[in-house]
């Protein structure tokens, strides 16, 4: 993994690492309170409905609409934040996650991966059950990179998304529709090795405009891989590599120069 591209000024603003595991019997308010007590020095930001399970069907298969049937209160997820909001942790019935947010230094996978282990260990102690191990072994991992690509650095406005992302062309249509005002796009790649489906890399680009009128592209890359019987850390490393290689592949060389590509 040492040959991955690297940048001096990448536009990354947040890195999240998550592991989906064989679900706990339940995770309601009682468990959320127990977990929050195990994060001394962190703030409970919110308790929200649990995120949907991550499902990655093999290529060509369509995910059936999810059916949920349950008695009692629906499962929740607890969201915690370290002082200064540099770190965010999420715990729910079938998932733990750690997020590093850009405050001064750029966030990186190398920081977040150990923090995830810390989050899982704290949650496991609070819930008095092993997490990321039998009987709650990891099933799927997810690494998410959030990037904010500001207009004015290599591209002027949202009609020039082709200057940033290769998936766009310079003329989006025939006259009078050759230049769009803004665009939103998502595309995915199956991750296949030796004819085996391992997961999927997704790229999602959304235009954003803040109230001051400045524009940016929110570029999210998500790699998900099925753990199977592989080593958890190595699967996470592969997700990280998917994202770095994918980011370099879908963005333009001109932007690589602006971000200070080193290798």
């Amino acid at each position: 993994m040492t040959d991955l591209p690297d940048y001096e000024r990448p536009p990354v603003v947040e890195v999240a690492v998550a592991v989906q595991f064989v679900p706990l019997p339940q995770f309601g308010m009682r468990e959320a309170v127990a977990v929050s007590r195990a994060f001394e020095g962190w703030d409970v930001v919110d308790v929200l409905p649990a995120l949907e399970p991550m499902v990655e069907p093999p290529p060509g298969h369509v995910v059936a609409p999810e059916l949920r049937f349950g008695l009692g209160n629906p499962p929740v997820r607890v969201i915690l934040s370290s002082e200064g909001s540099h770190w965010v942790a999420q715990v729910q019935q079938d998932r733990v996650a750690a997020h590093e947010r850009k405050i001064a230094e750029r966030p990186s996978f190398g920081n977040v991966s150990p923090q995830l282990a810390n989050v899982a260990a704290r949650a496991a102690r609070a819930l008095d059950t092993p997490l990321l191990d039998e009987p709650h072994r990891p099933e799927m991992v997810e690494v998410v990179y959030e990037n904010e690509i500001l207009a004015g650095e290599g591209w002027r406005d949202l009609s020039e998304m082709d200057q940033v992302l290769r998936v766009f062309s310079d003329a989006a249509g025939a006259e009078p529709y050759e230049a769009f005002e803004q665009a939103q796009i998502g595309f995915a790649y199956s991750l296949i090795e030796d004819d085996r489906f391992l997961g999927r890399l997704r790229v999602i680009a959304d235009p954003q405009a803040d109230p001051s009128g400045s524009q940016s592209i929110h570029l999210r890359l998500i790699s998900r891989r099925i753990v199977d019987n592989h080593d958890l850390d190595s699967v996470l490393e592969q997700c990280h590599a998917d994202i770095v290689l994918g980011f370099t592949a879908v963005t333009t060389e001109r932007m690589h120069e602006i971000w200070g590509r080193k290798k």
Binding site: M54, S81, R95, V144, P211
Partner: protein, 146 residues
Amino acid sequence: MTTATIDYVTSDFASGATVAPRKVSQYVDVTQRIRDRLDQLRELPGGWDHEQAKPIDPDALRLAWTAAEQFLRARLPEPELFPVPDGGVQLEWRAGPVELELEIEPGARAVVFVCDDEQSGQQIDGELPRDESRFGLALARLNAHA
């Protein structure tokens, strides 16, 4: 009273993706500020306006907290909170040209709202829960500039 909630529509292109609210520190700080402000209002004595103002009604305070918290969860801007001489509480939001006022009467008996949009020169007002759809429109206006 029915408090409107806003569900952000997210793409199911990456269903279940591990995302967390973006501005968490702001949320924590803002909720604390609102709690502090409601505590201040709770302690106002009768005649706080140097006239005949009543102490602020506990039910109005409770409903003000519930409303403020729901709107913050929906990522609306931080409201300002003001006492009303009859013992009610007023919440005010401003975003760009849009100003929204929500007044909770004592005993939380009634909730009225007024939304002024300087850009369009329009005013949207009504009473909840009767005018819920109009209130939804006012929230959408506010949110468009938030």
